[in-house]
Homo-oligomer: 573 residues x 2
């Protein structure tokens, strides 16, 4: 495989050998290693010194189930620290089959032009793009499909990324031309700052990914697929209800942040729950289960149609529904689905945006519960009005603009869908992850609430430091394989399935990793990221939750009560 490098300052590209130190890396391990090596930690994240890195995971492009994730890395304009965000869709597998170990985009052109980058069997082309500038992601993908074919992979930014809003995300085409997103940390703004509107990948004529021991690989893949299908979360809960199965669960647990994190339970929860959504989708002839890339056996996505039975959105996740729903006190699933679609289209993180709107509601911009007002606010972001620019720069920024002090962010990134006072393990992840507040960085909810991989009391302290630490390490490793993080539900309970991942890696590359090696990989990734952040100016003071979490959260009336010393133990490994 090769490093594909695009220099946007002089609009040149080259294909390089992979340095030895990067050869055993993929996905997040690779994007973080590249950023750590090549990006000055104190540089302006939207300036010429930042770099945007795309990397398929170690197993991506193979027949390993659920291995199609694409990692995207850079210095984040939202957090000011290192960032990896990953997404499904079809681009990653195509990049892997084209032999792209990583695509590194660096520099910045003079002037106002945007560009498209095309990768195909002839190499890399950089072309000026005018027609699609200012267009949303749905139209960009549709027009590129029309121009090339439905078989191409597309990576694109919407209006938010063009405007360098720091909540802007990067979108990836799914098999149906719909949208998956590398959502968090404002990576779309970095792509916009490099004046890249989209990247197309045409893998026509590419050979399959090389597997050293093909038989061993197939056997392991079978064991792994069986494990996923047999686990109650990955085999039943997620395929049936999507991630939105969590609304009722978190509401019951008193950890569903409501009204900008004022309480942990939402009156209207049932109206926006996964169970309700399932029935709505069925009644409107949508799809309750849908995979975002070839080889997905979990199929947690869905096709959510509007009242007239027309496609409205997909990849409609719990965190988005929680955010525009409970956190903004909106109990209308159709409004939330429209908000999700708009976020996908303008290319902005639906989690950050939902948290932001909650803060804006607290600041009096619109009242809590105002669904039509929400859609209007998203229109402001699309149009790039001044209010839109405030909102599009995220919850921390909006809190400052409005003088609001209850602002749920860590490292300036919005806190997602699980109140840290009621789900303390994930609170430790929010506080300490080098990514800023991110549930996926160490999903302690699994063990705190779903009782997967053990049972740690979500309201107490005991065991949560170890839980967050171990899950952050495991996640960093999983994020490097290209596997969807949801495989973790299975492998936390099923040692055989976990071993199958190691067997697939060993079979593909002809190596002999052990479980300890995988743990070491996770630790290497986290250490690399922490070092970058430290060099960028982060200290232990950045590993803290906002002041207001020392206020009680109903219904349990618990507070965030970890001491600084306890929090700092999470990264003691």
């Amino acid at each position: 495989m090769k490093i594909f490098r695009v220099n946007m300052t002089d609009l040149t590209a080259q294909i390089e050998d992979v340095p030895a130190e990067w050869q055993g890396l993929g996905g997040r391990a690779l994007t973080s290693a590249v950023v750590a090596k090549e990006v000055e930690p104190t540089c302006h994240p939207l300036g010429k010194k930042n770099k945007l890195v795309f990397a398929p995971g170690l197993l991506t492009g193979s027949q390993a189930p659920n291995s199609g994730r694409l990692s995207v890395g850079a210095k984040s304009p939202l957090t000011g620290g290192i960032k990896e965000s990953n997404a499904g869709g079809t681009a990653s597998q195509k990049l892997a089959r084209m032999g792209v170990k990583a695509l590194i985009i660096e520099g910045q052109p003079e002037g106002d032009n945007f560009y498209g980058i095309h990768i195909d069997k002839d190499g890399i082309k950089i072309e000026k793009e005018a027609d699609l500038v200012g267009k949303g992601n749905y139209e960009v993908i549709q027009r590129l499909v029309e121009k090339y074919s439905n078989q191409i992979g597309v990576i694109t930014i919407g209006q938010a990324g063009e405007s360098k809003l720091t909540a802007a995300n990067i979108s990836v085409k799914d098999p149906d031309g719909n949208i998956r997103s590398a959502g968090r940390g404002g990576l779309g703004a970095v792509m916009g700052s490099k004046r890249v509107k989209y990247i197309t990948i045409d893998d026509n004529g590419a050979a399959p990914v090389q597997i050293v021991d093909s038989d061993k690989f197939k056997d392991a893949a079978k064991v792994f697929a069986k494990g996923l299908l047999e686990h109650p979360v990955t085999g039943q809960g997620l395929p049936t209800y999507g991630t939105n199965v969590l609304v009722n669960i978190l509401n019951e647990a008193g950890g569903l942040p409501t009204q900008n994190f004022k309480t942990g339970r939402f009156e209207g929860a049932n109206k926006i729950s996964g169970e309700t959504m399932h029935d709505v989708i069925e009644s409107r002839k949508g799809k309750t289960s849908h995979g975002c890339h070839a080889g997905c056996v979990i199929k947690c996505s869905q096709i959510y149609n509007d009242k007239d039975g027309n496609y409205l959105t997909s990849g409609f996740e719990y965190e988005t529904i929680w955010g525009f729903g409970a956190d903004c006190c909106i109990d209308d699933l159709d409004i939330i689905a429209q908000a999700d679609r708009i976020c996908d289209d303008i290319g902005i993180d639906s989690i950050e945006t939902a948290v932001t709107v909650g803060v804006a509601m607290e600041g009096g911009v619109i009242p809590f519960g105002d669904g039509p007002g929400l859609l209007k606010l998203l229109g402001e972001i699309k149009e790039g009005t001044y209010l839109g620019r405030i909102l599009g720069n995220g919850a921390g920024f909006t809190g400052k603009a409005l003088g609001v002090t209850r602002v749920p962010v860590v490292k300036n990134q919005g806190i997602p869908a699980y109140d840290p006072r009621a789900v303390k393990g994930v609170g430790l992840t929010y506080a300490t992850s080098p990514m800023g507040a991110d549930h996926t960085a160490g999903y302690s909810v699994a063990t705190n609430i779903l009782k997967v991989g053990g049972d740690v009391n979500p309201l107490g302290k005991e065991g949560n430091v170890e839980l967050s630490r171990n899950l952050q390490i495991a996640t960093a490793a999983v994020d490097s394989t290209g596997l969807c993080l949801f495989v973790a539900f299975c492998i936390l309970d099923n040692a055989e399935a976990f071993q199958a991942i190691i067997d697939m890696l060993n079979a593909e590359y002809g190596i002999s990793l052990t479980a300890d090696d995988v743990t070491e990989l996770g630790k290497f990734v986290l250490r690399t990221e922490r070092e970058f952040n430290k060099a960028a100016g982060f200290t232990d003071k950045d590993d803290r939750l906002p002041e207001f979490f020392s206020d009680e959260c109903p219904p349990h009336n618990t507070t965030w009560d970890f001491t600084d010393e306890e929090i700092d133990e999470v990264f003691n490994f």
Copy 2:
């Protein structure tokens, strides 16, 4: 003297003895010591845990010339670090005569009411205020004078402070009912967050400040006054042209930041210079020289009238004129004077706001040179529109909102009127001062450009680290005495005048300070402030100038070329 403490949570007040550790402190030394001791460094600056501290200087209230400065301290909502900002006006001398060593305002009331605090011979009263909410500082002062008398001291916030905009300042009434400002660091937002609209001080019936050795004091005061009157800067330059004498000097030196710090020379400099301004003021029957408090012998202020001969503004400083002028490419002194007046009235730092407008112009909000556009933008701040909220939160915030990367800030505070590439000593002050970018924190311009206190090449490196270090230490001491910083021009060249300050301190308090003790006081202040910032999460990475200063600055085409190690030497004492 006593500590006056107001608790805005329960609307109570008390008068306390001064703890031993604070007895030898005043001004900045005292505000920083109180903030360091009583404010949690990681707290939300606009939340209930921050405190706002007012302290007259050690010599304030006495007959010492130019000793009427009022220090204001808090955790800054603009920088996130400790902040002291000081102002002239009449409040400080009145507080000192009332025996107020420091006034500490803490807590935060529930609800939307604003309050006025009244200090008089009967103690402290806290009263609900409705009529003056939403009013500008000029009207607030006028109405309070009508209600009480012209003899009261007034400390107030305008609409910007009420809105908790982080560039909001705190205004202080001058002898004529006009406005002086504790400008930098957003202290007006802290006052707004405590719901205090104004503070009145009625010192009717107060005894003069006690002087232990009155004869010795008078002798020293005479020597000091003579020194000030004889020095060319404090005796001639400042009284004749005001601080705006600097426009032509800095333009000539190639260090007048122009067009958002693109170059160091402004074509229209002569139209906005101190010399031009002097003639305009005379022709309109204003005053070219005016003191902001009783006992000022420098009288650098002025009364600037409009074309019809009506009062327009006063305290019309070089940095404001540079900012709205050269940095925004506006060469119309009347427009700039109107901008200054509006800033005073709505209570927003004219330096931060000017730097902000330069960034907004770069971001395309209005074109460079658009004077009427500038006034319209200030109107947006006053009205609290979303654009106004962006601008009112300063240059760093506005840069983020607009995706602009050339943003001249350090610790998120706008860089004032001297390009660090052409005046390197002050660049080191910008980088390292615990206050964020602030020329007054260690005014190396004096020695780099004006050749006061020696001659250090402004374009080279040699001697600048020591210069910035020594001036920061000296400034921290001067800021603790209540003396106007402009006395430094004199005492840098005149050892007798410096000794006179020490003599006045010793005579007033019956102590025996030496010059070394004064230096130690300065070091104590800086160490206290640095420690606070460190505990708030600051590192050496925060002591850096923005990336774009490595680009060349015409006409000298010099760059900011200090290494990190060299910069870090400034605080090696």
